[in-house]
Amino acid sequence: MPKKKSDIIIKMEDVGMEIDGSVASESEGESRREGFACFFEPVLTGICVSVVLYLVVVPSEDSRRTSRGNLKPKPSPAPGRNNQIKRTPTNRSHRRSNEDDSEGYEEEEAPRKTKVNKKKPPKTQDSDEESEVDQSKRTKNGRRVNKQQKEDQNNKDKAREDMKGKGKDKAKVIENGKESKKRNKDTSSSSSSSEDSGEDSMSEGEMTRLKEEVEEKKKLISTLRNKPWRMRRRLECLKDAQQFVEKFEGALGKGKGRKLYAFKVMMTKKWIKFNRDFENFKTACIPWERKIKEVESHFGSSVASYFLFLRWMYGMNLVLFGFVFGLVVIPEVLMGLPYGSIPRKTVPRDEQAKAMDFSVLFEFGGYCKYSFLFYGYYNNQRTIGLLQFRLPLSYLLVGVGSFGYSLMVVIRTMAKNSNEGGDGAEEGDFTFAWKMFTSWDYLIGNSETADNKFASITTSFKESIVDEQENQKDENIHLRRFLRVLANLLILCSLGGSGYLIYYVVKRSQTYANMDEDELSWFEKNEVEFVMSLLGLVCPPLFETIAELEEYHPRIALKWQLGRIFALFLGNLYTFLFALFDEVNAKLEREETIKNATIWAMKEHYSNFSELNNSTAITPLSINPADVMRGPCWETAVGIEFMKLTVSDIQVTYLTILFGDFLRALAVRFLNYCWCWDLEAGFPSYAEFDISGNVLGLIFNQGMIWMGAFYAPGLVGLNVLRLLTSMYFQCWAVMTCNVPHERVFKASKSNNFYMGLLLLILFLSMLPVVYTIMTLPPSFDCGPFSGKQKMYDVIIETIDKDLPAFLGTLFTYAANPGLIIPAVLLMVLAIYYLNSVSKAYKHANNELRKKMQMQRDEEKNRRNNKDSTNQVMKDLEDLLPKKSPISASAKENAEVRSELGDKPSKVSQKPGAVATGRGVNLQRDVSLAMANPRMAVTRPPGPRGPSALPGNTLQVPGGRGRGRGQNPRR
């Protein structure tokens, strides 16, 4: 931009049309300046001020010349309009020099070079038109300059340019000052003569400079759109630069690779677009993202975290489902024996009458019981089908593998979550500011989305406000501690009480179990379940009430609540398990007798057969599979128990939502028209979404699935269905009948707490399953392991029969305790080591965080000059006899200087310099010039203030800090 202007000026003066030229350049400069000012007013004004002041400070032309080495723009001595025009280039270079001080000099030099270079073309054209009158003078001048240039021939471009620049400067000054025509011509000729001399050395140095120039222009073209200018100005600039490049590129043999460049640009654009589309596609592939976002925007991230958890759970269960169905169920259904072929796949005769009744099917009896849903259906054939699929082995491996997979996934997710910013540790230096300025997504063009976005922004602000209020709360620590201890005591008491109650009830139920069924009332039969559900109903609200004593942040309160209810439910779970084990043991006993009976019957048959037929060829007994005597098959019974439990859990959950939330909301909404008090604001109100209850429900349900999946492969499928429906159902329910929490709070970034609970449940549910696999004998007449002593025998069998012998020996070695114990020891050591390493990292992390915080505070304090928190400074100030204005200003002065020492660029760039920063800019100029005090000392050093402050000693004997820069004006 500035280059063009100067170009114009030179042309004009060469042709001798100074008046028009000056007018044109003036108007152009003005308009440009206007645009500039609009865009970058703060910076510009600040710099303008500094430039003006600088000009004022500079006393004579000589000193100005000496100041060329400074980072200062070269000022022109003549005041007025001309100054304004010329400031445009200087401003720009100045701004750039702020960006990179080291380059400041070259940057400043650039426009000057341009001037020199640009004179060339006009010179060649216009020199002929030069008036002959000035010929003599011109040659004279030219000779002088020529001489000098010969002296400086050896790469002393700077000096030469200085000369030229000076001459040109003068020329411009004179021209714009509207001096007499003759003199004007004189100077112009002098400048053109200097160009003459430049022409002499055009060969190499000029050539390279021209190349640089073209390069710079090209750079300008490519970065033009990054400049904060008005479009018109950009267009002008672009046109200029393009013309320049076009003009000189041919001469310099440039311009190749243009196509390549265009191609590159096109490709990058395509690539960006592709990436964007791909991102969109990826986002579109995430299921329920919009649903969850919608919930989040209205109910906050804490409620959304439940749904995220649900979705995660769904994903995991889908994989489990894939394993179980792909490797167990489908092979059995496709390749195994069909229904009705063998006893275990047939409904017994006495059950057949009712086998299709809904009530029976609903209890998973009848056809359900003898279907692929349960363990008992699977055959113990070693291989099935054409593929020689080893079903029993696959069954065992899938059962164990699903635990392995779940463990891996849970732990990996936990690790990933803890990597992602940890728990609640936000690096939020700018929480509110960022929320304020970056939360609106400018891409939103859909009104529905916009509504959601508004809601979500409001919610997120509310969340942050709650956090902030929690931080600001100053509290009576002792009272709070006391209350918290009290609350924990109360909760422990109620937990202990409920534990005892469960124990008591279970004991009683065991005595009832020994009694005759008919003597027991309905209540006595269902006592355990009744007490359990009562506890589950009463305890959570009780805990919540007690938790109010503690006044934790809602997020932490939620964790406590979760932990407490979890403890309560654990009792529930384990009672159920113990009851189940009792049942299994009873079944095992019964099975033993039946097994003996069948063996006895078989022997009878054989003996009878051989006795009757007198032949050794025994034909097997041919009975209808439905009539075969069979054992109780405890595995299927366990599977059915879990199935029933899951189904009843689903029922309870959905009915609670339907009645507890939906009907309540309906009643509140519509009865409100004819009720004595305000139902919506008053007592019943709408329900809040119960995060803790829902999360725990989900976790315990998953525990049931893990425990039961081994005995009922169909359970996984059922669970997938359940999660799927509950996603839709709960999303709908929460949006229609719930209200946001009173204090919407932010969920912790990683929902590792949920994951931790899940891991615990996974472990707890793994124990009984592994125990049964390892110790209990499988049923003799049902399931894939029938006929074996232990379930894991199937692995040993495979190793023996299918794998090469050396692998078998390898396994025996690996199973050697001598090898296992060192391995375990090694692992423990590794865990210990890694743990200590991670602790050290955490420590270092915290230290660094502290340091950063401190640095930030320090910086802030340094900038908050007036009310500095530096206690020493304050004390010193208090020690002063009087707060004399001098000391105050001196202090400010000192601070300003220290500030400048640190971040000069910031200060000078500060757009606010107009209003408050005037003094700051002043100080800057002066302090920069301090090495070379150029101003005339106009008065003797004034009386110093008491030099209690370090800043005072730095004070220049020039008087008050503020106005010092203006002194020379007087």
Binding site: F430, A433, W434, Y442, T449, F454, G912, T916
Partner: protein, 144 residues
């Protein structure tokens, strides 16, 4: 509209803010105003191109920051002061926060970002803050 003969056509604010890209934006008035040369929201073609060039995906962060500052500076005094913040906040939340909450948020925002202690945000403060914001680039752009 005869654009060929009279290229200096300006569209009024009311027309521009109804384009689908801006229709839902709570700051649409400010956007148009700060890109218009007269500051009143009358947009010429150049201004229009300007606007979408700055709001395009490829515009650099510094440029975006400058214009974001202009947009959020409601009273165009080159500072984002508390009034501006309140206006921003009320537009963002559709005035659903209580005055105390608004006050709290504005004070916190200033406290966080104000580095020179003048209780308002100058451009340096703003740039310093916005340059570290993770979402700024992804949210401050419009595709047309």
């Amino acid at each position: 509209m005869d654009y060929t003969n009279n290229p200096d056509v300006k569209l009024p604010l009311a027309l521009i803010i109804n384009m689908p890209e801006l229709k839902e934006n709570p700051f649409r008035n400010r956007i148009v105003e700060s890109f218009s040369e007269d500051g009143l929201g009358n947009i010429s073609f150049n201004d229009f191109v300007d606007m979408f060039s700055v709001l395009s995906e490829t515009a650099p962060r510094e440029l975006k920051a400058i214009y974001a500052f202009k947009i959020y500076d409601f009273n165009t005094d080159n500072f984002i002061c508390k009034e501006d913040l309140e206006k921003t906040l009320n537009k963002l939340t559709r005035e659903e926060l209580t005055p105390e909450e608004v006050n709290l948020v504005c004070e916190k925002a200033i406290e966080e970002a104000d580095m020179d202690g003048d209780n308002k945000l100058c451009f340096t403060d703003f740039e310093n803050m916005i340059s570290r914001a993770p979402d700024f680039l992804s949210t401050f752009h419009i595709r047309i």
